[in-house]
């Protein structure tokens, strides 16, 4: 689905990503974990076409996307659920969803758009209850759900989620991650960026640990959970048993 080799990128003079190689296979949840400033967001921004790579190769479904701009990436089926939700606060929940579905409507018509919206309401019943409410009046957890639903409106091939757990209560985090696991069960592919390593690795198939712009270790989620470096740095504990 997504293959990255030797990616380097950054801002101005600042090299943030240093020789990153990774891949995501169809139907997988792949977690990228790492501390603040490790380069996680920069990485998904490059994939989403929001930031240009300095060097390296990027392929999305066998297609070279090294220089593909954001709007084309979205049309190819690669969508980003940005950090901090970023829903359109002054628009209604439903209008937010319609906006997310604009690509789908152009491609498959209004009926497809309607059915896609019904699916999202079924997945997130709370959004249906608040369909005509302004997005800005939703709680943090509801806004996160709206951001996810909006991204899914485009019927994406790859959903990239940047820190979906940020600023949410533990109970809501659990709900959000249950929904992400469901997405995989429905055949979706997810690239999940998280500081909350435990929550992410619990649902992910594989993971990569990013540290100061480099991948220090990768492997099956269970292997990363058992890795002592990962435990010390990201799971906040010394080795137990």
């Amino acid at each position: 689905m997504l293959t990255i080799r030797n990616l380097e990128s950054g801002y101005g003079q600042l090299r943030v990503l240093k020789n990153i190689s990774l891949h995501v296979r169809s139907g997988e949840i792949v977690a990228i974990i790492g501390a603040n400033g490790a380069g996680k967001t920069t990485l998904v921004h490059v994939v989403a076409g929001l930031l240009k790579p300095w060097r390296g190769d990027l392929f999305f479904q066998e297609e070279d996307i090294t220089r593909t701009p954001a709007e084309v990436m979205a049309a190819l089926g690669c969508v980003l659920v940005p950090e901090g939700r970023q829903v359109f606060a002054s628009m209604s929940v439903e209008d937010n969803l319609l906006l997310g579905g604009s690509i789908l409507r152009k491609r498959n018509g209004t009926a497809a758009l309607r059915s896609q919206m019904e699916q999202q309401y079924a997945r997130f019943p709370v959004l249906q209850a608040r369909r005509s409410q302004l997005a800005g009046t939703l709680s943090g957890g509801e806004q996160q759900m709206l951001a996810m639903a909006r991204a899914l409106m485009a019927k994406p091939r790859l959903v990239m989620m940047d820190e979906p757990s940020t600023g949410l209560a533990p109970l809501i985090v659990r709900e959000i991650f249950t929904i992400i696991a469901q997405l995989r069960a429905e055949g979706n592919t997810v690239l999940l960026i998280e500081q909350n390593a435990r929550a992410a690795l619990d649902i992910a198939d594989r993971g990569y640990v990013l540290e100061t712009g480099k991948i220090i270790v990768q492997g099956k989620a269970a292997e990363l959970l058992a890795n002592n470096d990962v435990q010390r740095a990201y799971l906040g504990r010394e080795q137990i048993g």
């Binding site: 080799r5 020789n19 891949h23 270790v217 990768q218 492997g219 292997e223 058992a226 080795q239």
Partner: protein, 432 residues
């Protein structure tokens, strides 16, 4: 049968991507955590950031056995000792042991890779596997043990030696698979004959052999005498132990676990890659090891990559069984011995001359080593008692330092052949 079909039949492109990702993070970890590699990388002016393809591997430094000795015991570990859950040492010898370590994940990976090899050899969960490799510091016993347990095979951890007991247990416990050196399986066969036991009455069906070089002729002999399918598997403790490669039931070469090891075949003199399919030294880089990663470890084992694909469906490359060594190391009963170690022991004994010859023979499938040592003329002519003392002294010293028994014969001064240039110290009369 395949243990991990999705991995063992991986497509070439997917494998290359996986190898690159794993190589890059391994380099990052050794460059950060292992002072030896940090220094070597700096000397060669390579940065792990500069490795952009698998071909760039050739820019990286080699690691040799001496590097392991120089960093004895824990100097090359890439994790703190508290993260290490197992320590092994090379099957070598006491004085020059090399130490390797494993994290919990390393043990998991190791077990899994050995499970692949045991499965490929035809052994499954319903089998009873008799592990006659040495346990202890040697990686052979534990390596096979953990892999077999992971599959669910019933494991008999009998360890090496005590041939009659091995046979007794093989009969009584109805072992279906044997793990040992190939030569030991023939010792077992011959002993069975002596004991009047017909091997065809046993439950034994599979033999998983490793630890020493052997030949196709020996495979046939094992098959004839024991009626089992004999497969070869390969590993070395410095890299992990058993589990690096192994034969499937097609018996046409050892599938290398390429998703965990990069294997280069190099000319041992120029250290350049040999043309495809030609014989050279195996140089191995680990891709997933946490505690003891190795970059371009020179195994000194000679082999080649075999052409074509295997009907079993595994996509991993196959190597021919190891044909010999690119140094003068001898493998005696599975123990690694260097002539220099024998020389050192001799020098410590008074009255001996620095002229010696090591004769290696194989009799009734057991290796026998005899060291011929020149002694001073006076000693040779009249002091019988002194002679016996010297022989005993050398024998004791050799057996305690090498861990195997070695015969010693004293000879008169100037009776051993002198050669121009490099002395021919070792006469290996064995045919594998």
């Amino acid at each position: 049968m395949l243990w991990e079909p999705d991995k063992e039949c991986i497509k070439e492109d997917d494998l290359k991507q996986l190898q690159l990702e794993r190589l890059q993070s391994t380099l990052y970890r050794v460059g950060t955590h292992v002072p030896f590699y940090r220094k070597k990388f700096a000397e060669l002016r390579v940065n792990h950031d500069d490795i952009h393809s698998l071909d760039d591997l050739r820019r990286l430094p080699f690691t040799v056995k001496q590097d392991l000795r120089d960093n004895y015991p824990y100097g090359l570990f890439a994790v703190p000792l508290r993260d290490v859950v197992r320590v092994h040492a090379s099957s070598g010898t006491t004085g020059q042991a090399t130490v390797v370590g494993y994290t919990k994940n390393d043990i998991r990976t190791w077990s899994n890779l050995v499970a692949r090899i045991i499965t490929a050899a035809g052994v499954g969960k319903n089998d009873v596997i008799q592990i006659a490799f040495g346990y202890g510091l040697f990686t052979g016993g534990f390596g096979l043990h953990y892999g077999a347990e992971l599959i669910g095979t019933s494991v008999i951890p009998i360890s090496a030696g005590n041939t009659k007991r091995q046979i007794q247990i093989m009969q009584d416990f109805k072992s279906t698979a044997l793990v040992s050196t190939p030569s030991y399986s023939l010792v077992l066969a011959d002993t069975m004959m002596d004991m009047g036991i017909n091997p065809s009455g046993l439950s034994l069906r599979y033999g998983l052999f490793g630890g020493e070089p052997w030949s196709e002729a020996m495979r046939q002999e094992i098959h004839q005498k024991l009626g089992i399918l004999a497969t070869d598997n390969y590993g070395l403790s410095e890299v992990m132990g058993p589990g690096i490669s192994g034969e499937c039931q097609e018996c046409n070469g050892l599938h290398i676990n390429e998703d965990h090891f990069l294997v280069e075949v190099l000319d041992p003199v120029t250290l350049e890659p040999v043309p495809e399919g030609e014989v050279g030294e195996l140089v191995i880089t680990t891709l997933t090891k946490e505690a003891f990663p190795m970059i371009r470890y020179r195994s000194r084992d000679l082999s080649r990559i075999l052409p074509g694909t295997c009907p079993c469906g595994r996509s991993f490359k196959r190597m021919e069984r190891v044909m010999g060594r690119s140094d003068d190391m001898l493998i005696i009963k599975g123990v690694n011995i260097f002539p220099l170690q024998i020389e050192k022991a001799l020098f410590e004994v008074e009255g001996t001359k620095p002229h010696y010859q090591i004769i290696v023979e194989r009799e009734h499938h057991a290796d026998r080593v005899t060291v011929l040592v020149e002694v001073t003329e006076s000693l040779f002519s009249d002091q019988m008692k002194k002679q016996r003392e010297i022989v005993d002294q050398i024998k004791r010293r050799l057996s305690s330092q090498l861990g195997v028994n070695i015969e010693v014969k004293l000879v008169e001064e100037k009776t051993l052949e002198r050669s121009e240039g490099k002395a021919k110290r070792v006469i290996d009369k064995r045919s594998f």
